[in-house]
């Protein structure tokens, strides 16, 4: 069986990610369908206890998978913005990256 750690930690991580995700939305993250669905599911299955139960393990695995999705998407988007978000560089910028300057050729390349 997958090593998932304590369900409470997964739940906390998930709620934290949902808070990040709903920064843009007008309403607070506690009113989003995702938050309500997750809290209701955990409550229904009492996943925060340590007892073994197949349905509980399935739910916990799903929650951990969703947490991984939200976290990875956020990190990937941040890296994309930082490293790939500026579009194509101009030839001057590219030259500058390796310490060169483009030569001045007023008459064109000839």
């Amino acid at each position: 069986m997958a090593a998932l750690g304590p369900p409470l930690r997964t739940l906390r991580g998930l709620l934290r990610e949902l808070r990040h995700a709903s920064d843009r939305a007008g309403r607070p993250y506690r009113e989003t369908p995702a938050y309500q669905h997750i809290v209701a599911a955990f409550r229904a299955h009492r996943v925060t206890s340590e007892k073994l139960c197949r349905a509980r393990q399935e739910l916990h695995f799903q929650a951990a998978t969703y947490l991984c999705l939200l976290r990875s998407v956020r990190r990937h988007a941040a890296l994309h913005q930082e490293y790939h978000g500026r579009g194509e560089r101009s030839p001057e910028e590219v030259a500058g990256l390796v310490g060169f300057r483009l030569p001045q050729q007023p008459g064109g390349k000839g």
């Binding site: 997958a2 995700a21 709903s22 007008g26 998978t65 990937h76 890296l79 490293y83 790939h84």
Partner: protein, 247 residues
């Protein structure tokens, strides 16, 4: 092409004849082929709605993995039927990452043995099949009976779940790791680590380059997590409308 701006204020879910639909303000979300976007699982719809609600000023389609998976299931752009999907999935076993071993360097060979042998052994026991591993350039010799066992097993999944399974296999380059995920034997993080074992080994030796390594790692985790969640949400009988999952 420039990114589309977020053109909607509110994202909500409603239940229609075809399943759970996504509403962007008053507009119903459609697939790339202009079909009505309708999914068989409420939890899946909620997760898709969350993707749309997470978009800030511009819509970053490359972050919306669940939406993409649903679009693929609805549009089936590669026009494959169930058996074609299953055969494509099982064919991966012939080049399964965890079965393909190096002889050198010794440290990497040892790492592969220690990390991959247990998951191969798990699959052999769980499915009662022979798989093995190989250092040959031709890869492992998978018995026909092993392939047939996996074909039978995958046939028990509906078309939506199968799209998800095939997607995860393509991302991880491994049927065995994918089944490990589907069967909840390993977590997404572990599956991705095992899939990228050689990269991780090189990173340990030579260091990590954030804009390449971490970028790739996050993307693979995101796609694998999305695919796995998609499969599970489409397979649960309690949350799924069976008549919508046409085989």
């Amino acid at each position: 092409p420039p990114e589309r701006k977020r053109f909607y204020q509110n994202v909500s879910i409603s239940q229609g004849e075809g399943g759970f639909e996504i509403n962007l303000d008053h507009r119903k979300l459609k697939t790339p082929q202009a079909k009505l976007f309708a999914v068989p699982s409420e939890a899946l719809a909620i997760a898709v709605a969350t993707e749309w609600d997470s978009q800030k000023d511009t819509i970053k389609a490359y972050t919306m993995h669940l939406t993409t998976l649903c679009n693929t299931a609805l549009d089936n752009p590669t026009q494959r039927n169930k058996m074609q999907l299953i055969r494509a999935a099982v064919k991966f076993l012939e080049t399964d990452t965890v079965c393909y071993r190096v002889e050198e360097p010794a440290a990497l060979a040892e790492l592969q043995k220690n990390e991959w042998d247990p998951v191969v052994a798990w699959a052999e026991k769980r499915y009662n099949v022979a798989i093995g591993s190989s250092t040959s350039i031709l890869g492992p010799n998978i018995p026909a009976s092993t392939k047939e066992t996996f074909v039978s097993h995958l046939a028990s999944y509906n078309m939506w779940a199968l799209q998800g399974i095939e997607y995860v296999i393509t991302q991880l380059k491994s049927l065995i790791l994918s089944m490990g995920l589907i069967d909840r034997h390993i977590t997404v993080e572990k599956a991705v680590l095992l899939s990228r074992l050689e990269e991780e080994y090189q990173i340990q030796r030579w260091g990590s380059v954030e804009w390449a390594h971490d970028y790739d790692l996050c993307e693979l985790c995101a796609r694998t997590a999305a695919g796995t969640l998609f499969v599970h949400l489409c397979s649960e009988s309690s949350t799924v409308k069976h008549k919508l999952l046409q085989d």
